[in-house]
Amino acid sequence: MTDQTANGPMLAADGTPLKQSLNRALRRQKLRAFLLIAPLLIFVLVTFIAPIGDMLFRSVQNDIVADTLPRTVAALSKWNAESGAPPEEPVYRALASDLLIAVAEKTHTQLGTRLNYEDSGFSSLLRGTGRDVDDMGEDVTKALVAIDPIWDEPTTWTNLLGEPAWVSAQADWDKAGGKTAEPPFVLSPVAQQNLPLTSAAFADFARVMQTVKNDSPTEKRPWNTVAIGLTEDLKANPAAAGAFGTEWQPALSAIVAAAQMGTIPAANFTAAFTESDKAWATPQPWSIIKIFSPRFTSGYFLNAVDLKMTADGIAPRADSERVYIMLFLRTMILSLAITGTCILLGYPVAWLLANLPPRTANLLMILVLLPFWTSLLVRTSAWKVLLQQQGVINDLLVWAGLVADENRLVLINNQTGTIIAMTHILLPFMILPLYSVMKTIPPSYLRAAKSLGATDWTAFWRVYFPQSIPGIGAGSILVFILAIGYYITPELVGGAKGVFISNRIAYHIGTSLNWGLAAALGSLLLIVVLVLYWVYDRIVGIDNVKLG
């Protein structure tokens, strides 16, 4: 019971405002409805929305360059790819530092695979240089050892650069037999302050030793970059030689003196890289690294439409590499053809179904649904048997004298095969929506049209057909969208000329392992479908589609 107070809101029987108690009741209803659909919602989110999101993300994701070559990417930011000249020495040194780590972590091969998509040859370039990078700058280390053999001792480096507390902890750990994990290396603040280049290089070395190689920095002589760092640190700041106490002063001062006299050779990574592979002397590999250094890339999408990114912007790919636009077009055209044949073949069947007496219609319906009861593979294989040149259909045509024995029709492993087999497979998806729409068109419309003077054809075309269009629309959407993403049948009967874009996607997922490109192709397919859906909605109107 409700009540209208003088000029307040309507009140429910218990005195709360009516609106509020209505909302409460509705909220409870909504919650219950939500609980009912929650399992399905979760299922759809987990199995459908999430993978699609992941796919969309993968198609633009490009962390590997920035993650594997962070120093190189930073150093390259100042380099201008259009200059036509290779970058300066610091970039080479940065790449050497990155590669030392990447080689130890074995990530340089993954990077090579990734960049190989953009520039074939990158994979072998990185692998080759990866083998040489350990020896680059070897002469600097040798020169230090010549000045004082202590530099050949790994412990010299750990004692000089390590935090004293870490040095003693490491010694205790060593004495205990090294059963547990070695304490992680810690730089001493003094070293960090006075020998910045050395410290940075050694910290990387120690980390890689301990975490990747499962070895101790006290057991291996450090990378050449550490020796190079030490030489340059001391040259730039001779006072640093006195910062480590008296026991280090002679050894460090000797290096200072040698550096000032010029007896220690300057590190030249440019030369070392060029020696490893002449490609490094050209801007080409550097511009590839620079172009694909951002964490998100349009490269996969450009690739999916036969374009590529170059230093001069976006450019078409070489003719031999252009496949995807053609495949997309072929997929569309063949899907349209399949949709068309499905309409032509399905319309009369649906009409019969809707107009025959129920008993006969049921029998016919079973025939229509029969294909659903056999496996897709079986059906497609059956088409192989039927369509091949020595197959049943050709035999029949030859027997009937319609085709000469020496030029039997090529019906399989080409587009004809794909169209025939897929029309057969998708036909029920056209017939069922058509049938359900036609079933709702009363026969009295046709009678009315005829009584008004229309011939059978006019009555059909002007009165019946327009009313069956929603069924054609629904069937066409279904068939076209199913066809555009079809995979097995084109794979089996399509040959080289009759495959679809999805076969290429499957290839990239299963064989070439270029998931980014597969994701980009898949995303494009999704976009195409959505665009078509939108166009369809504008022209026909989704409200007019009846599926049952």
Binding site: P442, S444, R447, A448, S451, L452, A454, A459
Partner: protein
């Protein structure tokens, strides 16, 4: 039974027409019917009696299994529906949902290849005729049932057919609208001088609209007559029972003379009746008498007329009339209707009264 089918001025003729759908049962058995130009004929009968089938045969959507259907003297058995030029109104109107009202009306003109200006003119005239001129641009789904009905009527008339068929066109309308449309349809039919075959199962509709009514039952025309004759002089017990309210008493003929017979009811009472479907003494009969023709005032009956004792069971006040239910000769569903006049007696339940009638109001029909 139906009258002769061979008259010269007959516009529509069914000549010994039979129809079977399944080859086992006849849905229409020996139909003979002829109607002159301009007549409004109604086919009335219970559901399943074959009315629609007859209409569909006339329109050309069903073929007669046997016999001949003639239109304007021409056998049309093999003429296809679109060449017959018969206007038709369907029960569910069958307005084309994807066309506007105007397009629906223009359709028959278009297929007749009339030019646009003539079309527009005729469409407008037809719409104005049913007072739907303002709705030309609407879709059928945007119209009410009554409006759709008018459009369907206009569409059936717009190409000026000489014969219009209507299959229960008012079945879906509410009572008030139905009465209004009954009037409209008859007015139009008479104004335009078209011949109309109208199918209904509603006897009031049939009686108020038609020039003649053909009562169908079991695939046969039971009686073909103007409404008044149908009501007042039914030729058999089916018609008597089907048209209007009717009291039935079963009995046997004991005496026949001077166009009057005496019937001994199963209760033993004797009554006077007019012999219609009885020929000799000893025939079983069902006598039929309309409730408003029963007389309770003995002074108005001829001297010596038979009367019956009746017990009043129920008295219902209905405004213009009184309806009294009686128990007569063992039947407790005997009803009489009396006019609400100042001097009219209002019988009390439990009372016993005496009733009688003029012999010509009581018809001795066949015993079903």
């Amino acid at each position: 039974m139906a009258d002769g089918a061979m008259t010269n001025d007959a516009f529509v003729v069914f000549d010994r027409v039979q129809k079977s759908y399944d080859g086992v049962t006849l849905v229409v058995k020996d139909l003979n019917l002829s109607l002159p130009k301009g007549e409004f004929l109604t086919m009335l009968g219970p559901s399943g009696s074959g009315k629609t089938t007859c209409l569909m045969m006339l329109a050309g959507f069903e073929t007669a299994t046997h016999g001949e259907i003639r239109l304007n003297g021409r056998n049309i058995n093999t003429v296809s529906p679109h060449k017959r030029g018969i206007g038709m109104v369907f029960q569910n109107y069958a307005l084309f949902p994807h066309m506007t009202v105007a397009e629906n009306l223009a359709f028959p003109l278009e297929v007749r290849k009339l030019d646009k200006s003539t079309r527009d003119q005729k469409v407008k005239r037809a719409l104005d005729m049913v007072q739907m001129g303002a709705f030309a641009g609407r879709r059928p789904s945007q119209l009410s049932g009554g409006q759709q009905q008018r459009v369907a009527l206009a569409r059936a008339l717009v190409f000026e057919p000489e014969l219009v068929l209507m299959d229960e066109p008012l079945g879906a309308l509410d009572k008030q609208l139905r009465e209004h449309m009954q009037f409209e349809i008859t007015r139009l039919a008479h104004e335009l001088g078209i011949t109309t075959v109208y199918v209904t199962h509603d006897q009031t509709e049939a009686l108020t609209m038609s020039d003649r009514v053909a009562v169908f039952n079991d695939g046969r025309i039971q009686q073909l007559a103007p409404p008044s004759e149908l009501y007042e002089a039914p030729v058999n017990s089916f018609v008597a029972q089907f048209i209007g309210e009717n009291n039935r008493l079963m009995g046997t003929v004991t005496e026949m003379k001077d166009g009057i017979c005496v019937v001994r009811l199963d209760s033993g009472d004797f009554i006077d009746a007019k012999p219609v479907n009885v020929s000799k003494v000893g025939d079983r009969t069902q006598v039929s008498i309309r409730p408003e023709r029963v007389e309770t005032n003995k002074a108005r009956l001829s001297p010596g007329a038979h009367t019956l004792k009746a017990e009043v069971l129920e008295f219902i006040y209905m405004g213009d009339i009184f309806r009294t239910r009686l128990k007569v000769a063992g039947h407790d569903d005997f009803v009489i209707k009396t006019r609400n006049a100042p001097d009219q007696v209002r019988h009390q339940p439990g009372q016993t009264i005496e009733i009688g009638w003029l012999p010509e109001d009581c018809r001795a029909l066949d015993a079903p």
